[in-house]
Symmetry: D2
Subunit: 306 residues, 4 copies
């Protein structure tokens, strides 16, 4: 497969749609991003890299970071994590409290906000409030292997100012005893985690371990066990796009995780990781053009797991 | 009607049940209360007072205060209050978030926690954070007409420490734009309001205006218009006991409001107000023996509105 | 009180709104009714009758009959009825299945469709399928004391043809074991019951026993015990208007029951019963002008129970 | 890979658990099945077959047939099918009505009961009531390529007698206009479809087209397009095990569909199809030992798509 050509064709295909969708506007730093941005990067298991568009422009990872904190939380407390979070698709929007109430404060899965707050809480228990922010940043930097990674303090501050829904979720889980630290501490870390920034290149590079059975194929470093890598992929496939997860599986057929910054990372197990960025969102909060691009990519490469 | 004899018979009837139910244990100050306590007081429109048991012992009013803050909120912003709260029974427990999510942050009625937080928010907008606490205390004291009224700071502090569910509700409504002040400020006032203490005598005296078309029959002071008094009574009847409101109407047949401190106040429009206190609660959070006492009282007096 | 004058003033007040609201259109027999119809009738405990508008024109009672079948079911099996139905406001539309699923097939109250199907099922168990239709008709005729009462077979047939939601509810409750007879039999009786027709005069006359402690004040016949009459009134007040029950209590302040045929009956305990008919409905399925008329009536007479 | 050895090891692994779980008992024909039964069959794309246990014993396919009727419905009306059903995991039990009410009668996906009734309805529209039963049987027989396939009329009759929940679902969707035929006709076909019987051998053989891009690799016959085959697999992975779909993806990592008869079929795209049968069920209604067997199988073969 000639990935340069494939990415070129993908870019051509989505070009007429570029700019469509609705840019997240709940915080200024996201609202100001030009919707015409589009970038995409592939990193293969062999370490080859291919890009198109603004693949080196950093963007706000937002919920894409839920895969990073899940990985860290699983490494911290192992399978006992699953006593505090399910791993079923939620069938609900990303920030619903209904399911939490019906199921005693146990979130459906770690890729919705409630579940990601559990991951964060695990990290606060381990590293403390400020230590957890530092640990997440450092882990992301290690994964990115030299690609730039930073936390935008302005974004973190904005998240905090508008994050009443997340504060509701955190307090609600705390009321069920499923948050072990003060909600404000967990939210502090969570908002900083959401404010992580990478480019498509960095993101695809960082997630490569999930395409290679848990081992970073370039550094040779084992990040997670093979079994855990497969399981994280499974959760991304069933839960990675909120209440459009089934649709993403249907159209793209790859494990993936989206964020309201317009980024999506997807994994072709055994082959490659691919990241795309386009800020306009679907009503479910997933990158509209990014999803199209990945659908075209999966179709051209035949990399769907199905 | 000889109310002394009636109260005596009521007390006799509930005596075998005294102490039953489960005392609220989420905060120490409530958990320590002796479940054997029982008191009851009637104040008629003519100003006559009748009591039985520990009718002069102050207890934590808790949700009974929702009627007080509703009255104040309605006087502050009038009927526009109903843009921010419904007046339908919720069919849900007192602290459910499900309905809030389905109805965009508009609580079903002002006598569940969410709705009472709206009342409180209105008062914070008007009086400021500390001013609102002061205003509520002062209004309660005026209504009580010399009967002791105080806020127990230990209770308020405990409510705050354990009030994660209320914090969730406040943040959730704020996320929908239906809270105008910072959740922490509104919660501060709300927790102090819940910590109001009166005796049965004081409570029955304070609520007498609702039995007299909005005018305090003893002082002659108009508290609310006749129409508003009727409407507050209507809301108490349909919504005053959470998801046991229908049952209270069925068994007692009077507008009433309960609190987890074990108090209930009920209104016989045109006749009297009656307050009862017994700390043991039903699974729905209403005083078990207090409800029995009011059922017997309504049966002996024929005062049911139906 | 001069009820002739009061009814005249009520009619004047609603005149500009006459015809507003949306006539039920799910079956032809209802859809064809002229929305400009308006009638109202009062029958006092003393037997005096007052009317305005088309108070002698029969209309389809629809859900108003739920009070009749509840009365019959309670007389059949007594308080054990409450093992099969709650008596709490539902907080949901009249035909919701959500609550049934969450509460194992036990309807919230007997005045929503699900609960009324329980009443009907009780009658099928007692009288058989055809016998139950006959028994309901006969009981309604006795209550109406000579005023015309009939079942419109065309309406019953139409209900059946379009009654998929009710069929869903009946089958659903049967799946929980809370329906004892074949769903088709229960639905047959239910659809015939809904097709009962009376005029405002007949309806107000028929329900008079609820305004007089369970005894028909004109014939002297005891229909239900005083206690049961009060309780039926309590249920009407808290549950009689679906998810607008709180609003009806707030604005009118009388126990009442509405039907999609545009009729409402209301009870002023100890005083009178009043029926109104105007086919245009509110979004919640209650007569729009009928509710206005009752609000004005309650305001002019001061008969609100609050 | 030596599949004989692998199946032998799988059988050894689950042997201590054989008989665990709870056999479906809502109809006699299922309740009578010996819980100690266990069978498993693999058919590879090359046409090689491997079995262990009672792989040739026919069992009731039940919900496994939802994949067959979905395939037929998609071939009948193409992508317009997705106007009448979603393709998102439901997050609810297989027979919930809650989601249907909140989403206007559109089922979440075609592998829960509600969605499968839509598939059936499509076939009734095309073939008529009796023709649809015949068409489903014939299609299943073609897929099974000589392996025995029959409909057990006793099971179909039992399903009908106890199928009140399904009748509720069908009537409910009809009330939203999302069922085009009389509920009784659709239910007739649905209950016969559920009563289809095959052995593990037959089932694995029949589903082989999904492991080979839509073409039966043995007969060379194209059943569905490659794209549709992938998409059906995607839906099986995200939705094939009700509210344990995420767990199946997590543990097994293969598209699969279970039935309350204790059967599960799973697809390793590009490789093979595998069927397992063990009647004891998990609380979610999926074969307990069957799921364990598939987890072991996936682990030994490394065939997880992740």
């Amino acid at each position: 497969l000639d990935y340069n050509e494939i990415l070129w064709e993908v870019a051509q295909t989505v070009e007429p749609q570029r700019g469509s969708g609705k840019v997240a506007n709940y915080i200024p730093a996201l609202a100001e991003v030009d919707p015409m941005n589009f970038g995409m990067a592939v990193v293969t298991r062999a370490g080859d890299r291919f890009t198109t568009g603004r693949a080196d422009r950093p963007f706000s990872l937002q919920s894409v970071t839920k895969v990073i904190s899940l990985t860290m939380a699983l490494e911290s407390i192992g399978e006992s994590f699953w006593k505090r979070s399910g791993r079923e698709p939620s069938g609900d929007p990303f920030n619903s409290l209904v399911q939490l109430e019906h199921e005693n404060g146990i979130p459906r899965n770690p890729l919705i906000n409630a579940g990601a707050l559990i991951s964060t809480d695990v990290l606060v228990s381990r590293y403390g409030r400020d230590g957890a922010v530092e640990a997440i940043l450092q882990f992301a930097q290690e994964l990115a292997d030299g690609e730039p990674v930073r936390i935008d303090p302005r974004v973190a501050a904005s998240e905090r100012e508008t994050g009443f829904r997340n504060a509701a979720v955190a307090n609600f889980m705390r009321s069920f005893g499923n948050l072990h630290n003060p909600p404000d501490d967990v939210l502090h870390v969570y908002f900083h985690q959401c404010a992580l920034e990478m480019s498509c290149q960095g993101l695809a590079r960082a997630m490569l371990y999930l395409a290679n059975g848990g081992v970073d194929p370039i550094t040779g470093r084992r990040i997670v066990s093979e079994r855990r890598a497969r399981r994280i992929n499974a959760i991304m496939l069933t839960c990675g796009h909120y209440d459009a997860s089934g649709d993403f599986a249907f159209h793209v057929g790859l494990p993936g995780k989206s964020g309201v910054g317009g980024g999506i990372v997807a994994i072709a197990p055994g082959q490659l990781s691919v990241a795309v960025w386009s800020p306009g969102l679907s009503p479910q909060g997933n990158s509209l053009v990014g999803t199209m691009a990945l659908e075209k990519f999966a179709s051209l490469t035949g990399l769907s797991v199905f």
